[in-house]
Amino acid sequence: MRAQLASTTTRIVNATSRRLGRGQGTVAGGRAGLRLDPRLLEHLSAGRQVALVTGTNGKTTTTRLLTVALGATGDPVVSNETGSNMPPGHVAALVGTRAGRAVLETDEVYLPRVLTSTAATTVVLLNLSRDQLDRTNEVRMIAGSWRAALAAAPHTHVVANADDPLVVWGAGAARDVHWVGAGLRWQHDAVGCPSCEGRISFLEDGWSCATCGFARPAPEVTLVSAADGTARAEWADGRAAPVRLSLPGRFNQANALMAAVAAEVSGVDALTALAAMEAVQEVAGRFTVRSFGEVRARLMLAKNPAGWDELLDLVAGSGAPLVVSINARIADGADPSWLWDVPYERLAGRVVVATGDRFRDLSVRLHYGGVRHSTEPDPVLAVAVAAAGSAEVVEVIGNYTAFYDLLGAPA
C-alpha cells in the first residue's frame, strides 16, 4: 500500500518536473518516492533480475552495452539511462515498467546500499581510481566497503576486472566471481596493497604483492589488443571472438568484454552479446559528432586522471585540433588540482584551445607542461577557434559539466 503510494508519487513528480523543464526529472521523483517509502527500491526490485554496474570509469557505457546485450533476447530491459546513479535515479527508472530485467549504473560509494536493496543477481566491478577527492572517499575505503557488502551477498554473481588490485580486493570475498582480464592503463592508485601494508608490483602478465602474496587471479577471459587498435576476447576454455565496436578506444573494448561476461552470467551467450553491442554508436552523448555552425566536433568526456589518460591515448592517433574544457562545479568536484596528474605533455605540438569555467587553471598546467595553446572562456567559441584553418573534425574533451554544456549548446 505504502509502496504503491510512493511509486505513484515518484511518477507524478517525475512527469511534473519534466513538464516544468527541470532536467530529465529522475532525481526529484525518486527522492519524493523514497521519502514516502524508504524501502521503495527494495519493493520495485522484487521479482526482477537486477544487474548493477559500478567503478570509477566506464559505468555509463558498460551499463548501456549490457542493456543492449540483454535486450538481444527480445526481453524488455530497463536501465537508468540518464546517468542518475544513486537510489533516487534507480527508483525513477524502475517505477514505470514491468520489465523483468534491470541494468542499473550505480555510484561506487552507493554500491553496498543498492546491493542490499535490490538483491542484485549480478554485479559488475570495472575499476577504481582517484576521482573528485573533495567529495568522495578514498579508493581503498570504497574497495573495503565493496568487499564487506559482497561477502554478505552469497547469491550475487560478480564480474570483476582481474587487472585492478583494488577491484580484486573488493570482489575477493564474494562467493562467485568471474574474473576478466580487462586491462588497467592507469596503475597509480593501486601501488599500495589493499590487503596488507605492502607494495603491488605490476609486470607484463599480472601483478602481485611481495609481502602477502595477494596477486592477480587467473581470468576466465582476457582482452587481447593488437597494435592496429582491434581486440579479441580469448577465453580460458578455448573460445575466442573479435570485440568489434562502433565506439572508439581500448577502454570501450574492455567495457564491452565486462558486459559480455555479465550477459553470459545472466543467461545470454557472450558472443551473441558482443555482436549486439556493435550497433551502439554513442552513449548518453559521449563520442557524438555534432555541428557547431559550420564546424564539426567529436565530444568526449573524461572526469579524472585515469579517464584522461585513456582519451589522450585515443586522440594521439589524429593530429586534429583539440579543445579541452574544464569546469569545477559540484558535479565535477570543486578542486581542479587533478589536472596536474594528467599527462597533458602529450599534447605538445598540436593545436590546443583551453576553455571552460576553469580555463585559467588548465592554461597554467599546459604552460608548465610545455604545451602551446590559446584560451577562450566560451566553449562554443573555443571550438570555432580550434577549427580555424582546418577541415578536420575537432576533438573536444571536457570533464562532466563541461561535456554536457557543449552537448546541450545550440547548433
Binding site: R130, L133, D134, R135, E138, V139, R140, H188, D189, V191, G192, E197, R199, A334, D335, S337, W338, L339, W340, D341, R360, D361, S363, V364, R365, H367, Y368, G369
Partner: protein
C-alpha cells in the same frame, strides 16, 4: 658549468594522489627558464631516496601515508640532506609526516620524520575542505603575496613553541587549532595544507624555495601571465565568498 639543481618528488606512488607532484614540475621549469640545469626525479618508495637539493612531498591516503613515513625514517636520506641545507616543501599528508606525530587511518598516532616541530591529531569535527586564502607571516618567510590554494584534510596540526606558521588564514581552516594559523616554517622546510598545486597558484612561494636551493636571492623575473590571471580569478572568487559569509 655548475652542477644541476636536483629536485626530487618524494614517493609519488604513495604521496601522489592529489596533483602535488606538480610542485616539482613548477620548480624545475622555473629554474630551467632562468638558465639553470635541473634534474627532476620521481622517487619511488621501493628504492633509496636520491640525494637532492629540494624535496617535494604531497598528499596521499591514510594507509600509504603511514608507509611513506616509515620508509623515510628507515631510509634516512631526507633527514641527512635537511641537516646539510636541502629545502623541503611538504603538502597535506606530506606536511603531517615530516612532523613529529600524525594519525593513521584509525586515528592512532604514528611517528613522523620529525623535521618540523608539529604534531597532528584527528579533528573532532568534519574534514576541512575548500578554497583557502593565507596571509603569509613575513617574519617566517619574508614578504610574499597572499597565498591561494585548496585544502582537503582531516588533521589538526599544532606547532611547538618557536616554530612559525606559514601564515594566517583569511578564508579556510588551515591548521585547525583555533589560532587561524596555516602551515609551518622551520629553516628551509615549508609545510602547508594547500593544494592547487600550491606552487602553481603561488609562483612567488616557488621562487622563495628556489632561491634557497640555488643560494640566489635575486632570481630574474619570469613571464607569469597565466599564473597571474589564475591568481586574480581565485582571489576574486574566494574573496567574494568571504564577504558573503560576513554579511
Amino acid at each position: 658549468m655548475t652542477a644541476p639543481l636536483r629536485i626530487v618528488v618524494v614517493y609519488p606512488d604513495l604521496l601522489g594522489t592529489y596533483g602535488d607532484g606538480g610542485n616539482g614540475l613548477v620548480l624545475a621549469r622555473r629554474a630551467e627558464w632562468r638558465g639553470h640545469a635541473v634534474t627532476l626525479l620521481q622517487a619511488a618508495s621501493d628504492r633509496p631516496l636520491p640525494e637532492a637539493d629540494l624535496y617535494c612531498l604531497g598528499g596521499g591516503e591514510d594507509g600509504p601515508q603511514v608507509r611513506a613515513a616509515r620508509a623515510l625514517i628507515d631510509d634516512g636520506m631526507l633527514v641527512r640532506r635537511v641537516a646539510e641545507g636541502a629545502a623541503v616543501l611538504a603538502v597535506c599528508a606530506g606536511f603531517q609526516i615530516v612532523g613529529r606525530t600524525f594519525p593513521g587511518a584509525g586515528g592512532d598516532p604514528h611517528q613522523g620524520v620529525g623535521l618540523l616541530h608539529v604534531e597532528t591529531e584527528k579533528p573532532t569535527g568534519p574534514r576541512a575542505v575548500g578554497e583557502v586564502l593565507v596571509e603569509v607571516d613575513a617574519d617566517a618567510l619574508g614578504a610574499l603575496p597572499m597565498l591561494t590554494g585548496f585544502e582537503n584534510h582531516g588533521g589538526v596540526t599544532s606547532r611547538a613553541e618557536g616554530t612559525a606558521a606559514l601564515g594566517q588564514v583569511v578564508v579556510g581552516v588551515g591548521n585547525g587549532v583555533g589560532d587561524g594559523s596555516e602551515g609551518a616554517v622551520q629553516g628551509r622546510i615549508v609545510g602547508t595544507y594547500l593544494h592547487g598545486p600550491v606552487l602553481a597558484r603561488n609562483p612567488a612561494l616557488a621562487d622563495r624555495l628556489l632561491s634557497w636551493a640555488l643560494d640566489d636571492v635575486s632570481l630574474a623575473p619570469l613571464d607569469d601571465s597565466e599564473s597571474e590571471s589564475l591568481r586574480e580569478e581565485r582571489l576574486l572568487a574566494v574573496g567574494r565568498r568571504r564577504r558573503h559569509r560576513r554579511s
